[in-house]
């Protein structure tokens, strides 16, 4: 199997792929990016927490006109994973409003986005409908 690297550092690969967040030890606010401090309370202590791999689609759009080089159509969404909001594409679903609906139950899924010159695969993530 080719060596793999996650598309972003908050995606943990392995047998049980999942997302992680920086959680403020003072107020509990969660962030996916590298932090200087907490935007909610200003403190700078964080722990790493696992994010639920199942969730519900709270908002979506089907992008059919994108920047050059970005394949369309794709479904962009906000997924509520047990109270933590996650930005992601919806994958393994037909990109049309008949198949993508608000409130839809989804779960995390990974996909290889490509390999670099050394053969290392970059692995991204999205959410797919439960039952697909």
């Amino acid at each position: 199997m080719a060596e793999q690297i996650p598309l972003v550092d908050y995606l943990v690969l392995g047998d049980d792929p999942h997302l992680v967040a920086h959680e403020c030890t003072n107020c509990g606010a969660r962030f996916f990016d590298r932090r200087n401090a907490c935007a909610s309370c200003g403190q700078d202590g964080f722990t790493t927490v696992d994010i639920d791999t199942s969730g519900e689609v709270r908002a979506f759009t089907i992008v059919t006109f994108a920047a050059p080089g970005v394949p369309v159509p794709y479904v962009a969404a906000v997924v509520d994973c047990g109270g933590t909001s996650v930005r992601a594409n919806l994958i393994n679903v037909d990109p049309d409003p008949e198949h993508v609906t608000l409130g839809m139950k989804v779960r995390l899924a990974t996909e290889v986005i490509g390999a670099d010159a050394h053969g290392t695969e970059a692995v991204g993530f999205g959410f797919e409908p439960v039952g697909s």
């Binding site: 690297i5 996650p6 598309l7 972003v8 550092d9 908050y10 606010a29 969660r30 962030f31 996916f32 990016d33 590298r34 935007a39 909610s40 689609v57 709270r58 908002a59 979506f60 759009t61 089907i62 992008v63 059919t64 006109f65 994108a66 920047a67 050059p68 080089g69 970005v70 394949p71 369309v72 794709y74 962009a76 969404a77 906000v78 109270g83 933590t84 909001s85 996650v86 930005r87 992601a88 594409n89 409003p97 608000l102 409130g103 986005i113 490509g114 670099d116 010159a117 050394h118 290392t120 970059a122 991204g124 993530f125």
Partner: protein, 401 residues
């Protein structure tokens, strides 16, 4: 007019649209000269300039305009605050006058955007030969289109959809009907970039950009400028009766940013900062949403207009769909919204927008709205939002005289 009141003495906007023969300085000077002439004053009367331009924000547009219209040595604040840039420039002039540093200030915003296309996301670069994590997410490749979307039509589509998920009642057709209203309104506005009435079928059948926003449901990139002269109540009393009669009171001038909320760094929260700005503005002005005779709000996309009915408290919490369906926001409704045609048809030359919407409201309060005049308009509100985020709200009132 109390001594610490703020007033708009003169205000002007260029026609929005394609201006291939005018550069940024030409457009800005046209707006500034118009505002000065409208107020019966000159550059020599100005004590401060708030200058707004976003796409060439490092170019010092304020000084460039001074070099054409008068290098009087006064302080210039060049500002950039996304789509709230114009409102921010106006806010700077208001703060300077309110603080007593000067009794008259100038604000302008200018942008050239004709043919600009999508304004964010950018072209996706080729994936690199060796995956190397970079940036604050440790990304090894571009993420726009791979982890959600960065394009504005898609971001604001989700904002409208989120409202629908929370309260129900939204649909592609409902959002398209909002665009139908604004395009209909634009037919009466000669300053609009587009004055084409569009049927619901035409809007829904047009090119889909990011569901549910089709092209005519998106703000129109175009060129334009707008400028305003702000004067203190004390100074206004010393001016002519004609100037006093045409002056429009700035009852509230508010700028907010987005307070932290869960999810606000996932999908921009345009709601909380707008609601906060509106709350502060109504309190400062001593008026309520029911007092408003017209509203110009930031319909950068049809999906955005809906949520701002709620955020500006024009309707009950969760009631934006019913409010729109009641016809309230058409020009003959109880709370006319975007009688100018809004950003979807009047156009959205970013930094000009936050002063052009103030111009629209002021023009109705002066009774100078021509065939699109909202009869008897006494109080109006102008709202803009820039992602990042910043929200400007100004409440204006007709002069008592």
């Amino acid at each position: 007019m109390a001594s610490d009141d703020l007033w708009i003495l003169g205000i002007h906007m260029t026609k929005f649209g394609k201006h291939p023969d005018q550069d940024l300085v030409d457009l800005a000077t046209e707006a500034v000269k118009g505002a000065l002439a409208d107020g019966g004053v000159t550059m020599k009367d100005m004590g401060v300039i708030g200058a707004g331009n976003l796409m060439a924000a490092n170019a010092g547009i304020g000084q460039q305009v001074q070099k054409q219209l008068g290098q009087t040595g006064i302080p210039v604040f060049n500002v950039a605050n996304a789509c709230a840039t114009g409102a921010t420039a106006l806010r700077v002039a208001c703060m300077a006058v309110k603080a007593g540093e000067t009794d008259m200030g100038l604000a302008f915003g200018v942008e050239k955007l004709s043919g600009a296309g999508l304004l964010s996301g950018g072209s996706r670069k080729e994936d690199s030969d060796a995956w190397t994590p970079s940036g604050r997410y440790g990304a090894v490749a571009p993420v726009d289109g791979r982890i959600g979307t960065e394009i504005m039509p898609g971001v604001f589509a989700q904002i409208g959809m989120e409202y629908g998920h929370k309260y129900g009642g939204t649909s592609f057709e409902l959002f398209a009907k909002i665009a139908e209203k604004n395009h209909s309104h634009s037919t009466l506005n000669p300053m609009a970039a587009y004055q084409k009435k569009m049927t619901l079928e035409e809007i829904m059948g047009d090119v889909m950009i990011a569901y549910p926003n089709t092209r005519p449901m998106c703000s129109a990139n175009c060129d334009g400028a707008a400028a305003a002269v702000v004067v203190s109540g004390t100074k206004l009393k010393t001016l002519s009766l004609e100037q006093q009669k045409r002056a429009v009171k700035i009852s509230a001038s508010i700028l907010t940013t987005d307070p932290w909320e869960e999810a606000c760094q996932i999908l921009p929260d345009v709601n909380t900062l707008t609601r906060n700005a509106a709350t502060q503005a109504y309190e400062q002005a001593g008026v309520g949403p029911a007092d408003l005779d017209l509203v110009e709000l930031h319909d950068c996309f049809a999906t955005a207009e809906l949520v701002h009915y709620d955020n500006l408290m024009l309707c009950e919490v969760g009631g934006a769909v019913d409010f729109f369906n009641s016809g309230a926001t058409w020009r003959d409704g109880t709370t006319p919204v975007n009688v100018s045609g809004g950003l979807e048809s009047k156009g959205h030359p970013i930094a000009a927008t936050g002063i052009a919407n103030v111009w629209e409201v002021a023009t109705h309060l002066r009774g100078e709205g021509g065939n699109r005049q909202i009869e008897g308009a006494k109080v109006g509100l102008a709202h803009v939002i820039g992602l990042g985020s910043a929200c400007g709200v100004h409440i204006l009132e007709k002069a008592a005289a």
